[in-house]
Amino acid sequence: MTTASRTILMALVGASAATMLVVAAPQSRPAPAPASQTAAPQAPPPGQPVQPGQPPAAPQQPSEISTSINLSGGAAPKLAVPAFIAASGDAELRTVGDMLGQVVWDDLKFEREYDLIPRASYGAVAAATSMDTVAFDQWRELGVNAVMVGIVRRNASSLTVQVRVFDVTSQQSVWAKEYTASATNPRQFAHTIADEFHMDTRSLVGVARTKLAFASDRDGERARNTVENRSIKEIYIADYDGENQRRVTVNRSLAINPSWSADGRAIAYTSYRRGYPDIFVSYIYQGKMDQPTGGTEIVHNFLPAFAPDGNRIAFMTNRDGNMEIYAVNRDGSGLRRITRHPGNDSTPTWSPAGNQIAFTSDRSGSPQLYMVDADGAGQPRRLTNESWADRATWSPAPYNEIAYAGRTGPGFDIKIYEIASGQIRVITDGTGSNESPSYSPNGRHVAFASTRAGRTHIFTIARDGQDIKQVTRAGNNVQPSWSR
């Protein structure tokens, strides 16, 4: 960050807040992170060392990679990811190596493309000290089809990580990468390895480098200028696995309903910082902010939803006397009304192509989901017949479905509406109340807020209802948005 921009930022939010608002710039996706990754030849000939800095070789056919790893027919290949080797013996680097192996293992496990052999069972296998000393016989005895071997090396001000995947039977390297980047957040090496491995071998867009935004009261701050004791919320972000949680807004008032922009650099949210609800777009890595929806003491705006094109924002507003859905460009231009009905229309979400919007309406007497063309033409079509349905979230392609919170008793469960068939399935199990679903960018996972663990926390769950994971631990945390 330049001195100038820091100065501007501090003027904006105050010196004490500056460190909270500014976080390290993300590695732009889908370009791989860490940013200064050295292009390494993909799948070099067996036995040849990876040449750092060498121009990329002509990519090999992905099918070849897939075939050579997918050894066991239909079943997921059994993959082992032991601790990465520390090139020098110091304890700190060994800790990094252990962490890299664990995080890659967790990231790969998350997508269920590979059968990850539990790390606790690796004790019987002699640890490799280089790419040439992999104990293939012992891995084979463990029933492993492939093993990922990594080496981490410390440079003057950076880390270099080499990684290869060996076919245990042929003892040949079937996938290889090398990365050099800042040592600031070593987990990012692991996330990058997992995402690129999934892409190269499965053509799968992994989510290891995605983030969750959510509103939280964890800092215990109170609303100002009120007689009642009121606990405010601010917007926070975390890695998809719950690491690196940090606050990104300084409203000192209520901040809720975050929505990531498509490029992951901005978060739109509802803020009461001016005493009334209006939508702010915070460019969290620049300390810059827009207020595109023109709120006043009379005109209130809520519930922003960034369109997949990264420019349009759909939102709810009271400007017509009741709640209606509008859309606007992120710079405030191109305002368009989407719904017109005496009932209240709320909580919009965009279809993956951006040509339709699903929303909640109470026009039937209870909150139900509807969809309508994003140009506002045509009649909305009702989707649900629940006692209460809210917070539709349209899945990314290739899935064509909408997740929402449906009332199933005193509380809510996360349900999924399949658009083509109209079928509905419930993916949470009635434990606690489960609200505010948000899809991962590959559509395989859903983040949501749940009271199942006492206070309200963010969880992730696979779209088939398996693999529930708790993301937050402190305070109350609501309304997750999963970055693209």
């Binding site: 009120t226 007689v227 009461y272 209130h300 709640m323 709320s346 909580t347 609200e435 309304q479």
Partner: protein, 199 residues
């Protein structure tokens, strides 16, 4: 003759208003306000049950305010800061049934009293906050809170309070008055709360 009658009636009304106003010299009720009558209890127009003292910390002002200066026929709330005013606000909150925003019988009585006070203090600008209990979805409750604030506002406007003195804001279920999870707590949280924002 008829003019004399009108004057007599006017005088009688003035006396009544003064009597009502003077009865407000009692120490204002310290917030938090008592729970609303449960649905169905208490006839329309019945006076609210006397507030039971709650074991809340005293506000940082004298618990028994000095006898207020009588200015005209009303107690001078204008002598107080906005913060003091809102801490012991004469404007009472109104309460709603579950998932409802209707201004019903009891609610109308409270709003009529609030309208009377707003007429006594014609410079006051008030924000009506709409709040919900925790049982609905967070997103939908933003709409429900808006409907509650708007219905209270519309009723006050129908009583002659200028619309530009009445602002609204919905806080959904974000600011419960009572963090409990009992029906009693929920009833306290489904409310329109009045805040004087300028005077």
């Amino acid at each position: 003759m008829s003019a004399r009658l009108v004057r007599l009636v006017a005088l009688a009304v003035l006396v009544m208003v003064t009597a009502t106003a003077c009865s407000r010299k009692k120490p204002p009720v310290a917030r938090p306000t008592p729970p609303p009558p449960s649905a169905g209890a208490g006839g329309a127009g019945a006076p609210p049950a006397p507030p039971a003292p709650l074991p809340e910390p005293e506000p940082p002002v004298a618990s028994v305010p000095a006898e207020p200066t009588i200015s005209g026929s009303s107690m001078d709330y204008n002598a107080r800061s906005l913060d003091e005013l809102n801490r012991e606000s004469p404007l009472q909150p109104v309460y709603y049934l579950y998932d409802a925003a209707d201004v019903s019988g009891d609610t109308q009585g409270v709003l009529q009293k609030n309208a009377e006070i707003l007429r006594q203090y014609p410079n006051w600008v008030v924000t009506i906050e709409g709040h919900c209990d925790e049982r609905g979805t967070a997103e939908y409750n933003l709409t429900l809170g808006e409907r509650r604030a708007q219905s209270a506002r519309a009723y006050l406007v129908s009583l002659g309070i200028p619309a530009d003195r009445l602002k609204t804001v919905s806080y959904g279920k974000e600011f419960p008055f009572d963090p409990g999870t009992t029906e009693e707590a929920f009833a306290k949280n489904r409310r329109a709360h009045f805040v004087v924002t300028s005077k």
